[in-house]
């Protein structure tokens, strides 16, 4: 399974990537913001894991853009973010995320959410 990890924090990209590797997902791509993620996003991507707050293009805008494109309209998307108020979670769900993870998370939570959204 090919995963695209999007976060402006290099530390967080490393943490998410390590968590993914620990549960057997080793085909990984990384991007520092939404704009860079869109350059990688095509039909070969099986899962997008994105932060919300990022410079240039944030996670919410990225989700909306991915949903507009035919090749990524159905790609599972996990939002991993510090934002945890109900209004934000609803906004992300309405934008098209399949699941939502609040930071700080455990690798176990990441695994559960991936299992939920990936067939």
């Amino acid at each position: 399974m090919k995963c695209l990890v999007v976060d402006d924090s290099a530390t967080m990209r490393r943490i998410v990537s390590n968590a993914l590797k620990s549960i057997g997902h080793t085909d990984l791509l990384e991007a520092g913001d939404g704009t860079e993620a869109l350059e990688h996003a095509d039909s070969s991507i099986d899962l997008v894991i994105t932060d919300w707050n990022m410079p240039n293009m944030g996670g919410l805008e990225l989700v909306q853009e991915l949903r507009k494109r035919d090749e990524t309209a159905e790609t599972p998307i996990l939002m991993v973010t510090t934002r945890s108020i109900k209004e934000d979670i609803l906004e992300a769900a309405q934008a098209g995320v399949n699941s939502y993870i609040v930071k700080p998370f455990t690798p176990q939570t990441l695994k559960e959410k991936i299992d939920e959204v990936v067939d």
Binding site: D7, D8, S9, T11, M12, I15, N18, A19, S22, W52, N53, M54, P55, G58, T81, T82, R83, S84, I85, K86, I89, L90, A92, A93, Q94, V97, N98, S99, Y100, I101, V102, K103, P104, F105, T106, P107, T109
Partner: protein, 248 residues
């Protein structure tokens, strides 16, 4: 001798401002004016007339009341400006600085908490390494040793993965600090703007914390109550997706 008061009333002096009410400078100005009108042929008045002329020649005395009024108006305006500045600082800057203080306190406590969690994880990891070493050196049947080592390796893997989780404090506290920096920049810009009101020489380009700057961080980020917040997210997403699928 002329009755100055009656004379003054005859000239319609009552319509003018009452010099007694205006204070000593006005009284002095009025006195000079009245004395100028007195018949100067009276020998007894000659010395008075000389003094009056001398006093009248000192224009600064006649201008003093007006000057004092101008100074009074300027001081009142300056005091008003200072009061407005103080009130504005009270209303904006003080609350924001207090908020910044609270945010920095949270960064300190969450950093300390994460460091303690990482140290606990490292202690546990070292304990598990010791256990593996002891099993290899001392013990039991090959099957028992293998089972003990495998169980310890699994536990060690969980501990190490837990350490990765605790290291998320770096991302979270960075966002908290960016929030605090944004508040301090905002306060600085507001104080600069207020200083420029009092002294335009202080004016410099001021930039308030913009939406764009705030978009790359979440100032409310927290390490606390992650399980409760995750439960809220799960419930909210589940309901939202359910509504979406039923409306299709």
């Amino acid at each position: 001798m002329t009755n100055w008061t009656d004379d003054n009333q005859d000239r319609g002096g009552t319509a003018e401002a009452d010099p007694v009410q205006d204070g000593s400078p006005s009284l002095l100005t009025e006195l000079i004016r009245e004395l100028k009108l007195v018949n100067s042929t009276d020998e007894n008045m000659s010395r008075v007339n000389d003094l009056v002329q001398t006093l009248a020649a000192k224009s600064s005395i006649e201008e003093l009341p007006e000057m004092l009024l101008t100074v009074y108006a300027e001081i009142t305006a300056a005091l008003g400006g200072i009061r407005l500045t103080r009130d504005t600082i009270q209303a904006n800057a003080v609350d924001r600085l207090r908020d910044t203080h609270a945010r920095l306190d949270r960064v300190t406590s969450e950093t300390e908490s994460a460091a303690n969690s990482i140290l606990d994880g490292l202690d546990n990891a070292i304990g598990l390494i010791d256990k593996i070493s002891e099993a290899n050196n001392n013990g039991g049947s090959p099957e028992e040793r293998r089972d003990t080592v495998q169980a310890s390796v699994d536990a060690l893997r969980l501990e190490v993965m837990g350490l990765f989780g605790h290291l998320q404090f770096q991302d979270i506290t960075v966002q908290q600090l960016r929030g605090a920096i944004g508040l301090l920049s905002d306060v600085e810009a507001r104080l600069d703007a207020l200083a420029a009101v009092i002294d335009p020489a202080c004016l410099k380009q001021v930039e308030f914390d913009s939406e764009d700057a705030a978009a790359d961080h979440n100032a409310e980020a927290s390490m606390s109550d992650a399980a409760d917040r995750q439960a809220l997210a799960d419930e909210t997403v589940k309901r939202a997706l359910s509504v979406q699928s039923s409306s299709r």
